[in-house]
């Protein structure tokens, strides 16, 4: 697929998505009730979705970010957490391509960043060429070169710098076994014929490569500034801000990078003069401070999700509710069943679980309907033109009678006993699942695991429980970053397994995935993924449960804020600023 098609498709996609999103904020109640089979009132938490909150910001002032935690990684080679990628790529470093700075579905559109365009594919989308803009500079005024982007791609392979996105490893030719630029070893598949041109040779056609170049792997790092693992504490800026000080887990202070030229950047607005991130605060204190929004807190935003217990305090007050963002995180949480073990090797047993599940109860256990949507398909709404279809047509509270009937057909009229692993924080969800499946005669034992050990535990395919409760988030708005990760049997690993926790090894599904991946027409591929979603759901390797929202509170002096759909609903740091900079703390 060439660039023109990609842009057209993105625009078309965005247009349809926009329709869906505007529907969310009102006017489509009729359809909502039809879908739910019950009269659901409009969700007060999502009133701001698709809109910019606080109007246009003024230049200047200090924006404060109140956070309960430190960033996982700000080193662009290692940054692979939605919110951290937002913060890093919108403030500190630029990538070849980035997402448009816009609320709602328009945020899924690509725009050139360091590159002049969205890249030129050739050789059947196996070769991608990007040309850098003129006049791009780092924080010390030196020029950003194509070689620096190549260098960061290479260092992302180093075992000393783990944690980053693996798209480069997955797609670049000759990347197998490569371990970074140590001892002068370089990747021949990344070519830099001159300072402003970078060419990527892929091992297979990849029509969506431009989406991958949004990832921080494709940000520039000058070799002279690279300090290995320590670079994480002081990434060198190519964006509108540079780091003044960074005390890990305490405080990060950003100040303007005077060498950043807004003329080269159509995305970042860089309104505040300073951005201060205060870390290690308790979640409920952050909520209280932002609800009160007094003094300097009026110029603050929250980094982490609002606590479910703060919901009533926020939703009952119109002035506070108006300062709440609740964009979808686009992550689907599912009950994943071990399809390799009895009785879950029988599709009727798995369907019985789908029917028995009470998604309304899970929504309640996850913090209520204001902050969660019941899932009605596998892929989140962003991959379905804005809204998930109701593929299964099962009532949200479940259908125990139908589940029992399916169990009877499967030769289990009296049900059976099984167990589920949930993360500590999801104990309530586990209980909701236990109760719902109990109605159909499936006795569930809940095993809770500490979050730090959760993925190790469920990744051990030999010793794990039959059921696990976990989800997946697409890396960018394409079915190719969801379905293959969760349902391709060839990705399964005996230990350290991730994504495909139903251990689903279905030949027709895998064959179809390969066919879709080879499609060069993005729109055709998009529809094919959506269709495949329904086909997989009918084979019931998982039972989709909820899609969480990202509720974020804003101070009263905040302007230009919206949750960015492509960054998991985190505030778009490219545009957020202050109404009145004079009111912020120096």
């Amino acid at each position: 697929m060439n660039t023109r098609t990609l842009t057209t498709v993105a625009a078309a996609l965005a247009a349809t998505l926009a329709l869906g999103a505007s529907g969310c904020s009102g006017g489509r109640d009729g359809e909502d009730s039809a879908r739910d089979g019950r009269g659901s009132a409009e969700n007060p938490a999502t009133a701001n979705n698709g809109a910019v909150v606080g109007g246009a910001p003024e230049k200047g002032g200090t924006l404060t970010v109140l956070s309960n935690t430190d960033f996982t990684h700000l080193d662009p080679a290692r940054n692979w957490v939605m919110g951290d990628m937002d913060f890093g790529t919108r403030l500190l470093y630029r990538t070849l391509v980035t997402y448009k700075a816009a609320p709602g579905a328009e945020g899924g559109e690509l725009v050139p960043d360091l590159a002049e365009d969205l890249g030129a594919p050739s050789n059947g989308a196996k070769t991608w060429t990007f040309r850098l803009k003129k006049g791009l500079k780092y924080e010390d005024g030196t020029a950003i070169t194509a070689q620096d982007i190549k260098y960061n791609v290479e260092r992302s392979f180093s075992p000393d710098l783990p944690g980053g996105p693996d798209y480069a490893a997955r797609y670049l030719a000759g990347a197998e076994g490569y371990q970074g630029p140590a001892h002068g070893k370089h990747l021949d598949s990344v070519k830099t014929p001159d300072d402003r041109t970078i060419v990527f040779e892929l091992r297979k056609p990849f029509a969506e490569f431009a989406y991958a170049t949004v990832l921080p792997t494709f940000a520039p790092v000058p070799k002279a500034q690279d300090k290995g693992p320590q670079y994480d504490n002081r990434p060198f800026s190519s964006g509108p801000y540079k780091i003044e000080s960074y005390a890990r887990d305490k405080r990060l202070v950003l100040v303007r990078n005077t060498h950043w030229d807004p003329a080269t950047d159509q995305v970042r607005k860089a309104h505040p003069d300073r951005i201060v991130v205060t870390m290690g605060l308790k979640g409920n204190q952050i909520d209280d401070r932002l609800i009160a929004s007094s003094g300097a807190d009026a110029s603050a935003v929250s980094w982490g999700k609002m606590r479910p217990e703060s919901t009533p305090k926020v939703l009952t007050k119109a002035d506070v509710r108006a300062r709440l963002l609740a964009e979808s995180s686009n992550c689907t949480e599912m009950v994943q069943m071990h399809t390799g073990r009895t009785p879950f090797d029988d599709v009727r047993v798995r369907q019985a679980v789908q029917y028995a599940l009470d998604r309304e109860a899970i929504v309640t256990a996850s913090g209520g309907p204001a902050l969660n949507d019941a899932a009605t398909a596998l892929m989140p709404g962003s991959l379905f033109d804005g809204k998930q279809p109701d593929t299964l047509k099962i009532p949200l509270t479940g259908d125990a009678a139908k589940a029992k009937e399916l169990l009877k057909q499967a030769g289990k009229p009296d049900g059976f006993a099984t167990s589920i692993t949930v993360s500590n924080g999801d104990k309530g969800v586990g209980e909701a699942i236990q109760q719902a499946l109990g109605r159909a005669g499936i006795k569930v034992t809940i095993e809770t695991v500490d979050p730090s050990a959760f993925y190790d535990t469920i990744g051990d395919t030999e010793n794990r429980t039959d059921l696990v409760y976990t989800g997946w988030c697409p890396d960018y708005p394409s079915g190719s970053t969801f379905l293959p990760f969760v349902f391709d049997g060839r990705y399964i690993k005996e230990k350290g397994n991730s994504g495909n926790h139903s251990l689903f090894r279905d030949k027709p599904t895998m064959q179809r995935m390969d066919e879709i991946a080879a499609m060069t027409d993005a729109q055709q591929a998009n529809q094919a993924w959506q269709q495949l979603d329904g086909e997989i759901l009918a084979k019931a390797p998982t039972a989709p449960a909820v899609i969480e929202r990202m509720p974020l509170l804003l101070g009263a002096n905040i302007a230009g804020a919206y949750g960015h759909t492509s960054f998991g609903g985190q505030i778009d740091y490219a545009t957020v600023g202050l109404k009145d900079p004079a009111k912020s703390a120096g």
Partner: protein, 328 residues
């Protein structure tokens, strides 16, 4: 005296190495894998192996431990390939989670925990001892009963309860104090104290209650000793009898637990620091536990052990000062 001190210090080193060995083994047999945690989502087996090798996790456990102990005394080089890090003396390892040497992390957090510990200690010693001594001297009067009932009540309140109560009373309802944010003593002593006042109170209430009870019983026992009777009989003023003869001997058991308490707190008050959002050693430890950051867990454990062992030593030496009967 010097011989005694030398012998004790040797013992301290032995105890610390033993603690390090036990901690090391515990985390080695636990299922948490720091390499897998660092590797992130969809980590390939090859990459995991490379990361394990870089972190030195592919070495046998005795080898890793030997490297660790050597590093403490001589410093060591960590990592292989392109980025080798030199971890200087005293090297307690490198935190892959925080991208910093564990020693630097600890030294960065220590002032916060020390501010919290010493401030709270001053408060609880003052409150606890005066309440305890007063109650002891007025044994079985109304004042004694009121003080002791109060102490039992305060001692039975867990710190997370008092903290939440204080936060509500002094911050949320009245706005008398700010949400604590650590301000270094050197940059603004007034801000330092006013921000720490709440956590000090939360910690001190619990300890003061225990110290009041401890010092009361100890004082009652001492005041019944024959030498106190002798001192009284000689006609010494009551003040001299209580302070010079009674208090000095009566404080020895209190001093013992004080050494342990202060030593433990210096290495971080996990709950208090977490509740008030203070970036001290305790919160570092809590974060390391939940992310499986093994080098930091080991470092904090060793730091805590060091403080407790050293505080014990200091207390033993102080006995000689406080109690004239003790000599080394």
């Amino acid at each position: 005296m010097i011989l005694y001190l030398g012998r004790r210090l040797l013992g301290v080193v032995g105890v610390l190495i033993a603690i390090a060995a036990v901690t090391f083994t515990i985390f080695y047999v636990l299922p948490a894998d720091p390499a897998a945690a660092a590797c992130g989502k969809s980590c390939s087996a090859d990459r995991l192996a490379a990361i394990r090798a870089h972190m030195g996790l592919d070495q046998p456990v005795w080898r890793q431990f030997a490297d660790f102990v050597t590093g403490i005394f001589t410093g060591r080089t960590i990592g292989s390939g392109q980025y080798t890090l030199h971890c200087e003396f005293p090297c307690l390892g490198y935190s892959y989670e925080n991208s910093q040497a564990v020693w630097d992390l600890l030294m960065d957090r220590l002032p916060v925990s020390a501010s919290l510990a010493f401030g709270a200690a001053a408060l609880w010693l003052g409150l606890g001892l005066s309440a305890g001594v007063t109650a002891a001297l007025r044994k079985d009067t109304l004042a004694d009963r009121v003080l002791m009932v109060g102490a039992v009540a305060a001692a039975s309140l867990p710190v997370y309860f008092t903290s939440v109560l204080l936060i509500y009373g002094l911050i949320r309802a009245t706005g008398l104090l700010p949400y604590p944010q650590y301000v270094p003593l050197g940059s603004d002593p007034v801000q330092w104290a006013s921000n720490l006042l709440l956590p000090w109170l939360a910690l001190a209430i619990l300890y003061a209650a225990m110290y009041a009870r401890q010092s009361r019983s100890s004082m009652i026992e001492t005041m019944a000793e024959p030498y106190i009777r002798t001192a009284r009989a000689k006609g010494l003023p009551r003040r001299t009898v209580v302070v010079k003869h009674g208090l000095r001997a009566g404080m020895t058991p209190v001093l013992t637990i004080f050494g342990m308490d202060l030593g433990g707190l210096l290495a971080g008050a996990v709950i208090t620091e977490s509740i008030f959002g203070l970036p001290g050693v305790g919160r570092l430890f809590y974060g390391a536990l939940s992310s499986g950051d093994q080098p930091v867990i080991l470092g904090v454990t060793l730091l805590a052990a060091t403080f407790i062992v050293l505080a014990n030593l200091a207390v033993d030496l102080l006995y000689a000062v406080v109690d004239p009967r003790v000599r080394y």
